[in-house]
């Protein structure tokens, strides 16, 4: 491998604004998904249903638009789908205090299977996936790089400071954080742990649904099998990497997207002749490395993954 060649290709790629456009685009579902996981985990609940919820959000949002609804209605449908699946997770983990791991995995399986089933039932004999007209770029924005993005990206970027504000500067955010640290304390201050946890899970899952819809309504214009391809799990890793803070979640998502966009373009430039599979492995390897790096310092919500049974002392 020629170091000079690599350096040349590297800087060429970075100098091209199209690269940064791609970075933001790739980061969008990660930002939305990670914020969703963040809300759930801050309240003390692990939501492994994210992978399936993203699939479901991608499918239902797309289906609605394919059926004639406007794009934002599709996003809303995706959010509602996520919310309903989140409600199921809340019933199982908060209501019945079942294992959060198992409930989440079950929901991922169920949601994915239902989505694929629904797709096949709706379009039994297609060879090429039917398409829709996705979100258009925001030319009316005079900001470079942002102007080439679609509205959902803007939404994702705006949600970061919004969620940070809610978490740190509102009573409900403080209550949420306390519920994730010590549910007994919250109960003793007159706050319903069950209601708050369920609300956080539903809201977080709605965000996950929207993250999925970005794939079918913005990034691509059709629904493919294996479309989500592990992004949900990467969000779970990113939340740990972000120490459960929205600002760091944004940074993590962007960092990740940076490497993802980079590896594709490095492949295309031909500067480094490695098998493409090694490039594709990079995102997952990076996630594992990130997890190891932050492992010791992670100040996780103390009540994460501990089921809370009201009245049991």
């Amino acid at each position: 491998m020629n170091a000079d060649l690599f350096a040349n290709a590297f800087f060429e790629i970075l100098a091209n604004p199209e690269f940064w456009v791609a970075v933001l685009r790739i980061a969008t579902p990660l930002i939305l998904g990670t914020l969703g996981v963040l809300l759930c985990e801050r309240a003390g609940v692990l939501n492994l249903g994210i992978e399936g919820i993203m699939v479901a959000g991608a499918f239902t949002g797309w289906l609605a638009v394919h059926g004639g609804a406007p794009l934002w209605a599709g996003v809303l449908v995706a959010a509602l789908t996520g919310g309903v699946l989140g409600l199921l997770h809340a019933l199982l983990t908060v209501g019945l205090a079942l294992s959060q791991h198992v409930s989440g995995l079950g929901i991922t399986m169920l949601a994915s299977a239902l989505s694929y089933y629904g797709y096949r039932v709706s379009f039994p004999k297609v060879s090429t996936p039917p398409t829709i007209t996705p979100f258009a770029e925001m030319d009316w924005l005079n900001v470079p790089i942002l102007a080439q993005q679609t509205p959902l990206t803007l939404l994702a970027l705006l949600l970061v400071p919004l969620i940070a504000y809610v978490l740190y500067r509102t009573p409900v955010g403080l209550a949420l954080r306390l519920v994730g640290e010590n549910p007994q304390a919250a109960e003793g201050q007159g706050v319903s742990v069950a209601a708050l946890r369920s609300g956080a899970i539903v809201a977080g899952s709605a965000l996950m649904g929207v993250a999925g819809s970005f794939l079918t309504l913005s990034a691509f214009n059709a629904f493919f099998f294996n479309m989500v391809n592990g992004r949900g799990w990467i969000c779970i890793a990113l939340v740990v990497f972000a120490s459960w803070r929205p600002g760091k979640a944004l940074a993590g998502a962007l960092l990740f997207a940076f490497f993802d966009a980079l590896q594709l373009r490095l492949q295309q430039s031909g500067a480094v002749l490695l098998p493409y599979q090694l490039y594709l492995m990079l995102p997952y390897l990076l996630s594992i490395v990130a997890l190891i790096l932050v492992a010791r310092q992670a100040s996780y919500p103390q009540a994460l993954m501990k089921p809370y049974r009201k009245g049991e002392r």
């Binding site: 205090a97 079950g106 169920l110 299977a113 096949r120 090694l278 390897l285 594992i288």
Partner: protein, 353 residues
Amino acid sequence: MRLEKRAQQSAIALALAPVGALAFTLLISALLVRWAGAPVGQAYGLLLKGGFGSVFALSETLTRAIPLTLTGLAATVAFKARLFNIGAEGQLYVGALAAVAVGGLHGGTGFALPAPLLFVLMMAAAALAGAFLLLGPALMKARLGVDEVVTTLLLNFIVLLFVSLMLDGPMKDPSAMGWPQSVALQDELTLAKLIAQTRVHTGLLWAWTLAVIVWALMKFTVQGFNIRAVGANTRAAMFAGVPVTRTVVLVAMLSGALAGLAGAIEVAGRTGYLTLDMSPGYGYTGIVIAMLAALHPLGVVFASVFVAGVLVGADSMSRAVGVPTYIADVIVAASLISVLVATSLTQYRIRWK
């Protein structure tokens, strides 16, 4: 709403729980079948027949059950120690890869060792490959506190890409005309058929024997106690003198080995070579089977036959009445959730105040 522990678990409730779960699952699936426009009764009939209704159907079911039993055992062993191994899929593939590496027809003839020896080496390689793959995440959890759910999940993707890499290069079958599949196994290393004219192979006996071995291990040996103790209460286990880290390592290697063997046995018994789509998610389904079997090794045998029957039956039903095959995954996932809910309700009562 809150949960109150029931003073006594009535035996009736305990027996009715799985029935209730099953009924609920069938209801959901019935709705889905209606949505596809197929007649519900006929569809269910075809499912049952396709899974269990003939010697052929049973043989297909049993064939499918072999890897499921092994991944189910892998999940059972790990979950019993509260090591959430979600990486069985990757461990399966890496085991298959190792098996082909040792037993494959490299350069036309493969390694020139006596077949029985080569067979043992092949299986050992597969088991070790799976074991070491899980060891990494297990140690990361034990030493660094990194959640093993995410690491094992991410490893699945990495392994699949690695297998693809190998199939494109060193392990490629030159005679497969560009199709990404591995070199085939030497003939003498493949597993014999159990029932003539079917695909059921002796791997079934391996799987069932391993189930009994795992059961005996858990119930009668000191290691089994250590595993159960660490899973039930790590602090108390440590107090009692159980070597915790050593036990976690053992569990990881055992669980990974079982999943690796699943891959090797699939290659040796069913396909003869390794392809990327060899496993339609057996690793993940194994987790569902383990939960359905309530983490009991012998229960895994039954649960895997049940799930395999549903999968096989759904395949044949879908061909006949045009219901998409994904209904099988829905049934499996829905039964998992409803069994958990039903079991929970036998232990707790819901109070609305």
